[in-house]
């Protein structure tokens, strides 16, 4: 458990491993990152994350301003102000909270503020649901935040630390979401290793978040003047900023890889930065997964391998910016693909990751039979048994079965 882990005097006697839920792992990482300001508002399944943060501050183990704002809209607004005044900032939300936060959320990437936010993913309303699913994160995937999905509690902790480094990198300067599956990762507890504070300090380096735009009386400037319009300098000025934002997103692909490398060197834990290839070397077909579902999928792949099926798994970690090149590289050798989404792309009648993958397949230049599976909606479990069926149905494509027009609903008959 947490047990004064962050007090340098106590760290010496801390256990080698602790067991904590994903929300607590994120909170511990935030404390290690020494933010200046954390603003919070409770919402299921994120609430325990902000409770852990509040407790860390109340116990004197974290030196940060905690602003209990009156709603998510103000939560992110407070952080925008703090970041413009030079603060390292963090918050967390999900589902309806994200929807309410949308106005400042939509604006953050354009301000180029390196705000870090845990997105404890939750399915969308309606039907009324308080449970996990990726619908909230997928709905905002085009807004311009960097979004990385975690598979394990340890990865939540490590990715949260890396998120600050990635967001604040001068070539990126974009807000980052750490996406962790509501329920299964947020409340699921597992063994994690906590890095030492001194190592984290060295890894993250000096805070310098508002070198480009500051609200400081001694450096007067106007932040976000009216820009654009159809005449004069407007159009060119606006395009310049938009291109800058696109460049930041593309740079993020490189910086995410560099940061994962540096993290592995410093802390000895290596996670695939963009796309993980699991048992892909001689795979004939593969599953494509995202986030907390991946562990069960890997177990299923291992069992299918034992049964002689040449199946592999590709996991997308960085969903925004979409890692087109890395995904194409992973897809190069296979002949059929099953894409498992935990949310719905209503416009395309498939999963959002499936839809994005179709774009990558065009880039690959090789047609590939692929099926869209949708499961785990509103807290439903995607079990090893479910993945066995996904493997069977994907394998059928290999043998000439025509891909279904529309998604295959994993939990339809549970």
């Amino acid at each position: 458990m947490t047990a004064a882990m962050l007090d340098p005097c106590v760290t010496k006697n801390a256990p080698e491993y602790l067991v904590c839920e994903g929300n607590e792992a994120a909170a511990l990482a935030v404390a290690l990152a020494r933010p200046d300001m954390v603003s919070v508002y409770p919402i299921t399944p994120q609430s325990s994350l902000v409770e852990h943060l509040a407790k860390l501050v109340a116990d004197g183990r974290m030196d940060a301003e905690i602003v209990d704002a009156e709603g998510e809209h103000s939560v992110l607004s407070v952080l925008q102000g703090a970041a413009l005044a030079g603060g390292r900032t963090f918050t967390a939300t999900c589902g309806p909270g994200l929807a309410f936060m949308f106005e400042p959320y939509f604006r953050t990437p354009g301000l180029r503020l390196p705000i870090v936010m845990a997105l404890v993913t939750r399915d969308g309303l309606t039907p009324q649901s308080v449970w996990g699913g990726h619908q909230d994160a997928m709905t905002v995937r085009e807004v311009g935040w960097v979004q990385m999905y975690c598979e394990s509690v340890q990865e939540v902790l490590d990715t949260t630390l890396m998120a600050f480094k990635i967001a604040e990198h001068r070539d990126v300067m974009l807000p980052v979401n750490i996406c962790l599956d509501g329920n299964y990762l947020s409340y699921g507890a597992a063994r994690v290793t906590l890095p030492a504070q001194a190592d984290v300090d060295a890894f993250l380096g000096e805070k310098d978040v508002n070198w480009h735009a500051a609200l400081d009386p001694q450096k007067p400037m106007a932040i976000d003047p009216l820009t654009g319009g159809a005449g004069g300098k407007g159009p060119a000025t606006f395009v310049r900023y938009r291109k800058g934002q696109c460049a930041g997103m593309q740079n993020a692909l490189r910086v995410i890889c560099e940061t994962h490398d540096a993290y592995a060197q410093k802390f000895g834990r290596r996670f695939a930065p963009l796309v993980e290839e699991y048992r892909m070397a001689d795979a004939e077909f593969a599953l494509l997964t995202l986030g907390g579902m991946t562990g069960a999928a890997k177990d299923a792949v291992d069992e299918a391998r034992d049964a002689g099926k040449r199946v592999g798994l590709i996991k997308i970690k960085t969903f925004s910016p979409f890692p087109v090149e890395a995904l194409c590289a992973a897809l190069r050798g296979i002949k059929a693909l099953g894409v498992v989404d935990r949310s719905v792309a209503f416009r395309w009648n498939c999963g959002p990751m499936f839809q994005e993958t179709l774009g990558a397949l065009y880039r690959l230049g090789r047609p590939l039979p692929a099926a869209s599976f949708i499961g785990g909606l509103a807290g439903a479990d995607i079990t090893v048994e479910h993945f066995h069926r996904v493997i069977e149905q994907t394998e059928a494509l290999l043998h000439g079965a025509a891909p279904k027009n529309g998604p295959i609903w994993i939990n339809e008959n549970d």
Binding site: H73, G81, A82, A85, G86, P217, G234
Partner: protein, 316 residues
Amino acid sequence: CPTGALTHITSARIYNEVGDWEDLFAEGLSGCQGCNTELLMRHALRRVGPDTVLATPPGCVPGMGAVGFNGLTGTKVPVFHPLLTNTAAMLAGVKRQLARKGREVTAMALAGDGGASDVGFQSLSGAAERGENILFLVVDNEGYMNTGMQRSSCTPYGAWTSTTPVGRQGKGKTQDAKNLPLLMVNHRCAYVATASTAFMEDFYAKLDKAIVASKTGFAYLHVYSPCTTGWRFPPEKNIEVARKAVESNFVMLWEFSPRAGLRFTHSVEAPLPVADYLKAMGRFRHLNEDQILHIQKKVEENRALVEQLATRSSAA
């Protein structure tokens, strides 16, 4: 004339004190001719001074160029566009972070009545409840003037706006205005006051108190700002309209602090009939007798309510 003599002394006193201080807005801002908002914000920012961070949510203040356009700015202190909805929250973040670094600055908002009383009210109320150290100045021109003179919850009963138009059926706004400053009193802010540019000395005194109060709590200043364009009166009549609003008790000048309670700073004991005020502008031209009566009754009700609060305060 005695009034003139009084004004003479007052104006000279303010001029002698602050006339040399730098106007912290650009020389040229594109407020309408005779814009009361431009007048009050130039005075206010000069008084608050350069150690300030200024928030100007969408409205006439940035609309006239305070935050600038394509690389040009209209303000000499750091200034930003919050959203219409999050001024108080964003400013709270700025102020807290600068305070954390040991910097003493005034975090000031110049917000319109719409962004404060309607869509931005949650953020305002939350920041006031948390006691954020902010000077929140609301420019009340009783509507969304920047977007084309639409109704806000601060628009008074009977007023024509572009969304409460006058026609065969429509006779202007059918509801009374929300009393935002009294709502802020109910938040027990460190300081709450109403002001008018027709009473500059009163405005300056309240600015000074609000600046001090904002160092340790939430200071709220509600300044009535007659809008020549939206209220339909000639630009040169601006101060006259503002003055008549006070002299008819349509607008009352008072201040509140939790310790001292509420008190009138300029009590009008023998008010003009409100019709004299209403006649001064085009937005009330269509009113029938019943409507004028309704407004007169509301003015008296409001006066009685504030009087009651003031009496209770002085008794306490």
